[in-house]
């Protein structure tokens, strides 16, 4: 608004420059509007086709390349339209903040911006078509009518011609309206035509400006930084929510683990040590009077000491298994498999090198807990454990760990079950847990963890 006011003021001061500027702007806008159906038509064809390709790629295994390739045109055409609008505004001398392109290189289906690009590709075509037709016809009629005088050779032929009649209502129906405007002389008609043509040409800047404004508004709504900003905010909000859920899961997993640790210490080594103290107290109490009781108490004290040490060893293995810390996941899981009471078939050949410690720990405890469950609840005679690298939908590396058995099934992820704790632990590490355990078996749990 201030823009046009300012130019109006300047224009009044220097009429010549105002005419030149308006003319240039009208030409640029016309060029933009008349070429719009070409790009819009191409995007209307290619973007939905790309979407179909991406959908098919999504359904096929290993189709992540097709997904990325199929989604790319939406981004290309959005970039093109952004560039066109930017150029048009720059050459036409419209000032204002530029839009810039959107952050992010890849076409990611999770990015809501991509879907706005797609929406723009679909919506823009009819609008571009209408504005292009209006602009084209306006130019055509305006130029044709205003140059009629020149084309007629400047000398109007004399004589009379039938009156010009504007009619509506159709020629075959009986009711119609016909207005005769007269103009039976060629000179009169030429004069009127030229006048109408000039009027149209004078109004042309307003028409192109309005049509261009419609296109720019549409672009602003769907392609601009402003909407990109909104999307960025919603993207960040989503990230924050995910992080928050992850924190909650981590806290819950940690609280559960700590509570269990406290219980284990209380029920195990602490009891042993109290009993040890009690036996030593007994030995002291009877030291002078009953040597046989002292001997018995001391023997018991040695047993309790040994047991306490064993329990502490098992506990420290439960907190941070030394073999996992020293030699990595594969060695630790091999040790787990060897200790299992149910025979375990281990498939971890695909795993090499060390992974992120958090990933290793989470995977280890998932397998350890799952094997404990197999031994306790499944009545299985066989159990398979696997570890493998994989790729997530977005191409990031993952670690997949699975445990399957031939037992009775019926494991559930519901609250209060041991698997729930596993789920929390995994989500805390950014992973997911899938459980398939129909009644009657078999049970398979699959953990998917991000890694490097």
């Amino acid at each position: 608004m201030t823009e046009s006011l300012a130019s109006a003021v300047r224009g009044r001061r220097r009429p010549g420059r105002f005419v030149i500027r308006t003319g240039r702007r009208t030409l640029v806008e016309s060029l933009y509007l008349l070429t719009a159906p070409v790009t819009a038509g191409a995007s209307l064809l290619l973007v939905p086709a790309g979407l179909v390709l991406a959908t098919v790629g999504r359904l096929l295994p290993g189709g992540s390349r097709a997904v990325a390739g199929g989604l790319a045109p939406a981004r290309w055409f959005a970039e093109l339209e952004r560039w066109r609008i930017g150029r048009m505004r720059a050459v036409a001398g419209v000032r204002g903040p530029g839009w810039g392109s959107r952050p992010g290189e890849r076409a990611d289906p999770a990015d809501p911006g991509l879907w706005l690009d797609v929406a723009h590709a679909v919506v823009v075509f009819p609008i571009a078509l209408v504005t292009a037709v209006v602009t084209g016809v306006w130019w055509w009629v305006g130029v044709a009518a205003s140059t009629a005088l020149l084309r007629a050779g400047l000398i109007p032929s004399s004589g009379t011609i039938p009156p010009e009649t504007l009619s509506t209502g159709g020629s075959h129906s009986k009711s119609y309206i016909a207005v005769s405007v007269g103009l039976t002389s060629p000179a009169e008609r030429l004069a009127i035509g030229t006048a109408v043509g000039l009027l149209l040409l004078c109004a042309l800047p307003l028409v192109t400006r309005a049509c261009a404004a419609v296109q720019v508004r549409l672009g602003q709504a769907l392609l601009s930084d402003e909407s990109a900003l909104h999307r960025r905010i919603s993207g960040l909000e989503q990230e924050r929510d995910t992080a928050r859920a992850q924190t909650v899961a981590a806290v819950s997993a940690e609280a559960t683990a700590l509570r269990r640790l406290e219980r284990d210490i209380h029920d195990g080594p602490q009891q042993r040590l109290v009993r040890l103290a009690l036996e030593l107290g007994r030995a002291q109490h009877h030291f002078d009077s009953r040597p046989e009781a002292v001997r018995e108490a001391l023997a018991d004290a040695i047993v309790q000491t040994q047991e306490a040490l064993d329990e502490l060893r098992a506990l420290s293995r439960g907190i941070a298994p030394p073999v996992l810390v020293d030699r990595g996941l594969r060695a630790a899981v091999t040790a787990l498999a060897a200790r299992s009471t149910v025979p375990v078939e281990l498939d971890a050949d695909g795993l090499d090198g060390r992974l992120d410690p958090a990933t290793e720990t989470a995977a280890y405890f998932v397998i350890a807990e799952a094997l404990t469950n197999v031994a306790k609840h499944s009545h299985a005679r066989w159990c398979g454990v696997g570890l493998r690298h994989g790729f997530a939908g977005n191409g990031a590396g993952t670690l997949r760990a699975w445990v399957t058995d031939d037992g009775v099934g019926g494991a559930a992820l519901a609250k209060g079950h041991g698997l729930r704790g596993l789920d929390d632990r995994l989500r805390a590490a950014g992973g997911t847990l899938r459980v398939s355990s129909p009644a009657g078996g078999p049970t398979t749990i699959i953990a998917e963890l991000p890694c490097g």
């Binding site: 219980r263 209380h266 009993r275 107290g281 109490h285 009877h286």
Partner: protein
């Protein structure tokens, strides 16, 4: 020396064998305790593993004293403590010595809340000092209050300035702490290197400052300890 006038308790002879109920879910410790008590000539009339069984055994056997572990099934929290309080509400003044892996002042306050004495609250480790443990058991059976020094330490650490105890001198407070631990006047005199009469005078001052009337010396001791805990 009997404290509270209730019919349930017969009170053991000064040094004679006691009839005892042991409640601990850890078999390991239960067996150790039973053997320890038996070797000292006491009769363990029941050894149980959870709260309801404790209440039942106490009501059935009316023991001279019960040894109770705080943490027992099914909740593994303060099951034993609540069972002990419940048993005492049905059999007022039934002596309870509560053992725990860790002591909490608030638990001690719950135990003493009925003001009738005959309660003890000790860290489990104290069983290693066999003589002291057996002595504490006997004191509780007689109706005294025996608190673990750690509880006393917690009370001292968390004491509010405006409490009833602020009127006491440092020496009087020290003396009250020893009383709460279950020491006799003689033992207190020995510890603080005071004459027995000086100890009695101090204790009299403590009772007076806490507003405890001279109706029953032993009961007043329990009330003083309770006041101490409430501080």
């Amino acid at each position: 020396m009997r404290v509270t006038p209730d019919e349930a308790r017969t009170g053991p002879a000064a040094d004679g064998p006691m009839r005892i109920v042991v409640a601990d879910d850890a078999v390991l410790l239960r067996e150790g305790l039973v053997r320890l008590l038996a070797e000292d000539g006491h009769q363990v009339v029941a050894a149980v593993g959870d709260g309801p069984a404790l209440v039942e055994a106490v009501l059935a056997h009316r023991p001279d004293v019960s040894v109770v572990d705080v943490r027992m099934p099914p909740t593994y929290t303060d099951e034993g403590l609540r069972a002990a309080i419940s048993a005492r509400s049905q059999l007022p003044g039934a002596p309870m010595l509560v053992l725990s892996q860790y002591v909490e002042e608030s638990y001690a306050r719950d135990l003493l809340a009925d003001g009738s004495g005959g309660v003890g609250y000790l860290l489990k480790d104290r069983v290693a000092r066999v003589e002291e443990f057996l002595d504490a058991l006997r004191r509780v059976a007689r109706g005294e209050a025996v608190l673990d020094p750690q509880v006393i330490a917690q009370v001292l650490a968390g004491q509010r300035r405006d409490s009833a105890l602020s009127a006491l001198t440092a020496r009087e407070r020290e003396l009250l702490a020893l009383m709460a631990e279950g020491h006799s006047n003689t033992a207190i005199a020995q510890r603080l290197v005071l004459s027995a009469s000086a100890v009695e005078k101090h204790i009299g001052n403590v009772f007076a400052k806490l507003g405890l009337l001279p109706d029953d010396a032993q009961h007043r001791r329990v009330m003083a300890v309770l006041a101490y805990l409430r501080a």
